[in-house]
Structure formats: C-alpha cells, structure tokens
Symmetry: C2
Subunit: 326 residues, 2 copies
C-alpha cells in the first residue's frame, strides 16, 4: 500500500514538460511489419522519417510560495528521477521531504532515460552499458561482493553498519535503467535548456553522474544557478573551473567507506583540490562529522532525512537564500 | 515557465514504487571498458551477472480522502505516464484535473518504458520499433500526411477542425519513447502485480495499447477492478470476455475521423461487437454527441477538460462509485 505522510502536501501547481532535443532524420532503411497489440491489426512501419532526439523530461511540483529559488533534482547514471522519491524500502524520499518544507521542485529524467525517452533509431546510438546487480552493489559502496555474487545473496555482503537498506537491493535494482557513455554533451545541452525554460535562479541538487552536470551548469550559466549541492559527484570539472572561474556557493557531500573503494579515493582527491582552489566550494564528509555508514546512494540511505536536513541547513545559511528561510 | 493552477492541490501522500519483474542472469559475455563521466575514472564492466527485468514504475498522488476507489492511469504504446500530465501545448492534463477533483491517482509507466526502465542485456530483447513523426501523426488521426512529410511541415496537414494542438506536434514527439511488440505478457504481469500491491478496488483509465491491458485486468482480476474507462483501446479482448465472462462497468470513448483511417473502422467493429455482447460495456462516440475533431490522443486534445468531465460524469453515475460523488 501507498505510504501516507504525516502532513498534507500543498501544491500551487504541478505538471511536466520536455525541453531540448533536436529533429533527426533517417533515410534508406527497409520497411518493418508489426502488430502493436495482441489481437490488434498489423501495421507496416517505415522507419524512415523524422524523430526528435536528445530531449529531457522535467516534472514539477510547486510546494512553495514562489519566492525561494526552485530546487532541481538531477539524478546519477543508470537512474531516473525516481531515485529522489520513495526509497526502495518505502520510506519518504527527498522530493516529498523538500515539498513538505515548502520548496518548488523540478524532478528531472536526464536525456535518454526515464520519461525523457530516446528515439530507437538504428545506427544512431550504440548499445547501452549493462550494469549487473553485483557491480552496482560494489560501485555504490554498499558492500564487498564478487562479480558472480547472485542478487539474492548480495544483502548478506553489506558493510557492517551500512545505512543502505540492503535487504531491499533487489527492489533498488528495479529502478536501474539503461545508460550510455557517449551522451554527456546532449545531457548538458538539455539541462541548459531546462534552466532557460525555468527562467528563475535555481538550486541544483545533483548526484553522481549528475554532479558533473550540476557543477558544469553553474560554471557555464552562472546567472541561472544560485547554488549547487552535489552528492558524491562522479567527477568535478576542475579544468573548466580554472578556465571560466567559479564562485557559485557549492556543497559537496561525501558518504562513508571511500577508502575501501578502488575509484573513490581518486575522485575525492579531485574534489578536495577543487575546494582548495575555489573558496565557494565546501566539502561535507559525513563520517568526519560522526555520520557513519552512508553509501553512494545518500538520498535513499536509512538516514536520508538526517542528510536532507544537513543540506537544508546549508541552503538556509548560504548567501542569497537566507531571506527565504521559513 | 511552469503553469499555475487556479486552485491549490492538496495531497495526503505522494511517492513512487516499482512492482513486478524477475531476476535474469547473464553468462559468457566479454568484459567492457567504459568511462562513465567526462573526466571520470575508467571502469571495467562485466555484463555477466544478475539483472531485474519486467518491473513497472508507479507514481502516486493521493488527492482524495481515501474513500473513493483510486484511479490508475495506463498509457498507450510508445508513450509513458507523462501523456496524462501537462499537454504538449502546456495546458492542464488529466492528472492535475482528477487530483483537483479529489481522487487518488496512480500514474504508471508500463514495463520497458519510462521510469520502469529495462535491463539492456544483449540478446534478451530485440531492437525496439521505430515510429516516425509522420507515422504517428497519421496513426493518431491528427491529419493526413505522406510518410516523407517532414516534422516541421506536419502541422499544416492537420484535419480541419482537429482538436489536437498540432502546432506543438514536435513537442509531442519529445515524449515518444521506444516500444517493443513482444512484451505484452510482461506488461500484463506487472499490471497485475500493481493491482495486488494497491490492494484496493481500483478504476483503470487506460488508452490505446493500455486499453487492452485495462480490459484484460478487469477480466482476469475482477475483484480488483471497479470500473474501466478505455480511451480508444487499440483492441478489445473479446475472446477472453466470452471465455471468462465480463461484468465490470466499462466506458469506451472514441474520437473523430475514424472513417478516414485504415485501421480504426475494424477496431471500432470489434468494440461495438464487445458492447453488443456484454451489457456492462458502454461506448461513447464523441462525434455522435456533437463533440467533433478529437484525435486518438483524447487526453491532450484542446477539449481534454470537456472529455475528462464526461468521464467523471460516467464514474459518478455508475453503480459503486455513486456514493463517492463529492
């Protein structure tokens, strides 16, 4: 059954739209025959013609009074906006939490994923990357597992003290979607289109792969971005910051178990270098303030409400949003 | 900019979950190398291992007091739940409309699409079907066009009097996602899992390809379904109804221009036969009551609020929901 909130959520508006993308024409392909529903009438399909590719879906929930900057939730690789909603073990997610706190929310599916869709045009895009349950379990720092560990056995491999709801890892896998590794510029272009469409200085709350896009947006369109909260960004655009300069108030949040990982110590080094060169960047390492056990999926860990509280404390405290404190 | 509603939407809960699907194991494939973000650290990816396929995403907005049956919005082929939200020309969609009228809503993305995702496992699923802008323009009965009519010229080919916002057809194309033609049973299984999870007798409002699934659900799980509203179902499960019997109150809504189409006269014949054999089935042909110009995409046509009003009139009037009239 659906979860119920303790408090009523009031929205002054909600809806969705797609932004960005461009027409793409296909020529010279053979005809196809298909029946589109059991019992339906067969149709001949000609794949030659026009499509739109590279667009992005954004769903909005206006939970504030319109005076605070809106918050844009940008998910990570292989995921969709769903990762910011109810957690895999059916606890409240950040979307609901921020709405109850009176913010306007834009929940995005990056280009090629989720309700953004992609045009299945032959030869235009290569095959997506396959990500197994065991590989994500390890890469998202939920625990150690061999690559051949089966789905049903993964929960038993969680780190002692892990905040991830590991018993619901199969449920988490249900929200994993295909990803590609060649679409960064299309994704970035669509995020810029989103910022133009919203037309208000926005706060970007981004995660993992989305962290790179959030930080780049603030560098490439500084007038459109009030602040960036990057949860475990998969990388930081250090060279771009040196080239363009960077002064957007930025909070980078890091979870636990980084020293046990093959990739994250190097990513953290880049993040610390970024913070050392740009005083607007603050790093919040959760274990260093006594918050232990967080995985890469901070927004769905068991203490996700404690972390969203830390993020909001920072948002309320930073210059520019202070006047909006409720 | 985002649209604003005239009235505040009050929700006693919101969130999302995934249901259904099953683990799928892949073996014997070669390793892959990929960099998952520009500037990121390269990772070796082993596609062999476990995935979950066949799951479905449902997003819920509890706009009622919990006494009326919830409404489940099931979209058509090549689309996602987004089709029930804001229209391509930025008017209010049915989700918002029904929430303002005090209903609980479950907005679904069928298996393989949208936030349901699909596991990109080599050799498990064939390539999706390509649907060009011109083919959808014709199949959705917006107007006549040659298969080589370009995207920018399509709007000029709309039927005189068409209710579809044809000038925004490019915007509509942004919400089209890949579709497959072999996944009906997986989709159906996930819809049954949804009905079990919701655990309340539900009203299914379904469209096109989704019409078949809505009607089948009511036949296969009659205790879970209070009523079906099928907007232009792509087919009706007549043989199944004869086999299992059918007594669920059902409204089938048809738009205009059916006689100009190559497929729809035959689909309508089946629908009329279904209604003739099963008295619980009522057909509402919009042109016959003087509502002209509707395309296949009734929920986003310019008169979409008039049609949602007709649907609600029927819902309020049918046995079982009458007591819930506000």
């Amino acid at each position: 059954m659906a979860i119920r909130t303790e408090r009523c959520i009031k929205l002054r508006g909600m809806g969705s739209f797609h932004v960005g993308g461009e027409p793409k024409s296909l020529q010279g392909k053979p005809l196809m025959q298909a029946t589109l529903a059991v019992g339906g009438v067969p149709v001949t399909m000609d794949p030659n013609g026009d499509y739109v590719i590279g667009q992005m879906y954004a769903q909005y929930f206006l939970g504030g009074d319109g005076r605070r900057p809106p918050i844009l939730f940008w998910h990570g690789g292989g995921l969709t906006g769903a990762c910011w909603e109810t957690t895999p073990d059916d606890r409240r997610g950040w979307v609901e939490d921020f709405l109850l706190d009176g913010w306007d929310i834009y929940l995005c599916d990056a280009v090629e994923r989720g309700r953004s869709g992609y045009a299945p045009i032959p030869d235009v895009w290569p095959a997506p990357i396959s990500q197994t349950a065991a590989s994500l379990f390890v890469r998202f720092r939920i625990g150690h597992a061999e690559t051949n560990t089966t789905l049903e056995n993964l929960a038993g491999h969680a780190f002692p003290g892990s905040q991830f709801p590991a018993r619901q890892f199969t449920q988490f896998m249900r929200q994993v979607v295909p990803r590609w590794s060649h679409t960064d510029e299309q994704i970035m272009a669509a995020y810029h289109a989103l910022l133009r469409r919203i037309g208000r200085r926005s706060i970007i709350v981004c995660h993992s792969q989305g962290g790179m896009f959030g930080l780049r947006s603030a560098m490439e369109a500084p007038d459109a971005v009030t602040a960036v909260v990057a949860l475990e960004p998969a990388s930081v655009p250090l060279e771009k910051a040196r080239q363009l300069g960077y002064s957007t108030p930025t909070l980078i949040v890091l979870g636990d178990y980084i020293d046990t990982d093959t990739r994250w110590p190097r990513i953290r080094d880049r993040i610390m270098q970024f913070a050392a060169e740009f005083p607007c960047v603050q790093v919040l390492s959760l274990p260093e303030i006594g918050i232990k056990g967080n995985s890469h999926m901070l927004m769905m860990d068991k203490n996700n409400m404690e972390i969203s509280g830390k993020v909001r404390d920072w948002l309320y405290g930073m210059a520019g949003a202070d006047s909006a404190r409720p």
